[in-house]
Symmetry: C2
Subunit: 358 residues, 2 copies
């Protein structure tokens, strides 16, 4: 158990933005929400799943929608607690703790705000240790844990509770609801027990996120050797450095989709193309896939090493493209069907980055 | 109070098909469901709202989707009771009676099957006394009664419960869910009290439907004077007799939409064009609107006077087009905004058929 205070939010936000791989919602807004909640309700305890009773009820909370919308349609904040309360009521149960479903972007910070308000701890675990665009894309799905019952709430008082026979249908039901409710809503899904988190979740992801953020902060401060230490800690590698020469972006089917092309600084004949569905999913150098989901593609600003989210990509931006292996918990049966390139409709093979992080 | 038995089902089905104005789902399947339920669980009591305690909980049940799909995707039956039970659970309340939300097509008969299974009466009232394609299109909406909380269920165990801030949004949320779940699902909406039914509903619609069906049955048996008696009872008028010379039909946005054109038997220069959104909505002779929502457009087979549903319209079919005034309960503030031609996107005025039925 450790206590998360306002002093931790900078590193946490930086790590979360990086792990968001370009998606996961605008971390700036969520950081303000978390800060306000800690000011109002006090620091949040971060507990490992083993510190909770095995049958303790753990509920998740996240923003769901398209980041391109979320950055403009600022959440009121009430919808997150409303989603959790609705699911708790449906289950006839109160949450003993809140857990992020993805440690990546906004969805790392929103659970902290909700936990502070509800006066319960946050569990140091998640289902992705990155961001993914669809609800079913969690290690919990690999573990056979249903995403439903789940709830979706908006800021006006609209509220939907779902039971779904499988996690892909849960995603489709939530997505069609979110399209109707304006593409920036709150969701609580995968109601878990602490025992299930321990068995199937990715443990330590909140702590990892803060540590990763602290190392990236050192890079941003220009500390000597900090970039190498950051890459070592993340087991990451720099794949490309260049200038954005093309962005094609559209919001469709409830997602922000697009393609971004980067031209190499040293050799203009070398280009990297990155495919987006809310998150950065696949990186190609020429026609050759070099970083593929579920491994992480992170884009850093070449000047100040700040992680770039897909909704802020801009023509002419100078960027470094980093590849990081996904959490080792992903490497089990069913991974490629669930979150490999073909799960996103690309007919290419997964290119493992080798080495498993941490 | 009267007891609805298998002997009533033929007239009820015939009346319901007519009041379905071409929509409301395939009555044949629903008739089999109602028959089976009465055989299994016994006759169903039909009660007026005033025969129930004022605060008695009345829940509705209906099929929701596109008739073109419903005719092919036969319901399993379990989804209807599942939708009612889910809403009852959400409300923390048990239904004292079941009520059709529309007396028109399948949705007149489904509530009978559910009432039989649950062992509760059916309320002799509804919210339309015809079929309409959208959930918010009820006299309850005119009375300020919210459609939500509501529930949607499918035959596989998928289940969604909604709270919505207004009835149009309730429709849009249900529609997007139904599109995801396959366009033929069960819905329970407008949870009411008997007092609300009495104050805002259309009373006697079940009885009216049986009586109307009995008169149409007499027409179909070729009894002398039966057609005139049928028209008189329904306050109806025959507007057109001819042959279907064109049908344009497509299933889009979760509805069956289209246009059917009829050429007059006696004068081939006269054509009637009828616009469809699940139901027959507007009838034009040439460019002149002659029957408009919320009044009823009913198509009868010219040979045997059987009412024709939109999904069975066929080229070359010989038909009579009947116009019937809507239930008098519709005539109050807000009617045209909710169910007039412009509510369906047609920039024409309502053409009252004059006289209000019964």
């Amino acid at each position: 158990m450790w206590e998360l205070t306002i002093a931790d939010l900078d590193d946490l936000t930086l790590g979360a933005t990086l792990l968001g791989t370009g998606g996961g919602g605008d971390p700036y807004i969520a950081r303000l929400m978390a800060r306000q909640a800690i000011e109002d309700f006090g620091p949040v305890r971060v507990v490992t799943p083993s510190e909770l009773p095995r049958d303790a009820r753990v509920l998740t909370v996240a923003v769901i929608g398209a980041p391109t919308v979320i950055i403009e349609k600022v959440p009121s904040g009430t919808e997150f607690v409303a989603a959790v309360r609705a699911l708790a009521r449906h289950l006839g149960d109160e949450p003993a703790a809140i857990q992020p479903i993805e440690v990546g972007g906004m969805n790392t910070l929103v659970p902290i705000a909700v936990a502070a308000e509800l006066g319960v701890p946050v569990v140091d675990a998640d289902g992705m240790r990155r961001a993914f665009p669809q609800i079913e894309m969690t290690v919990f799905t690999l573990g056979g844990i249903p995403a439903a019952p789940m709830s979706v709430a908006d800021e006006k008082g609209n509220l939907v509770v779902f039971e779904a026979t499988n996690n892909l249908l849960a995603e489709r039901l939530a997505r069609s609801t979110v399209i109707t409710l304006g593409l920036a809503n709150a969701i609580s899904c995968y109601p878990l027990t602490a025992g299930q988190v321990l068995e199937h979740g990715i443990s330590g992801s909140m702590t990892y996120c803060v540590q990763l953020g602290a190392r990236l902060a050192a890079v941003r401060r220009g500390e000597p050797g900090a970039y190498q230490e950051f890459l070592r800690f993340a087991q990451a590698r720099e794949f490309f450095s260049g200038k954005i020469v093309d962005i094609d972006r559209h919001t469709t089917d409830g997602f922000a989709r697009g393609t971004v092309t980067v031209e190499h600084f040293a050799d203009p004949d070398r280009t990297m193309r990155i495919e987006i569905q809310n998150e950065l999913l696949l990186a190609f150098e020429g026609d050759r896939p070099v970083i593929t989901a579920p491994d992480l593609i992170c884009m850093l600003d070449h000047e100040d090493a700040s992680p770039i989210t897909t909704e802020t990509l801009a023509y002419g931006q100078r960027v470094d493209v980093i590849g990081m292996p996904c959490a080792p918990e992903w490497h089990r049966d069913g991974m490629l069907e669930l979150v490999g390139p073909r799960a996103f409709g690309y007919d290419i093979d997964y290119v493992p980055l080798g080495g498993v992080a941490r």
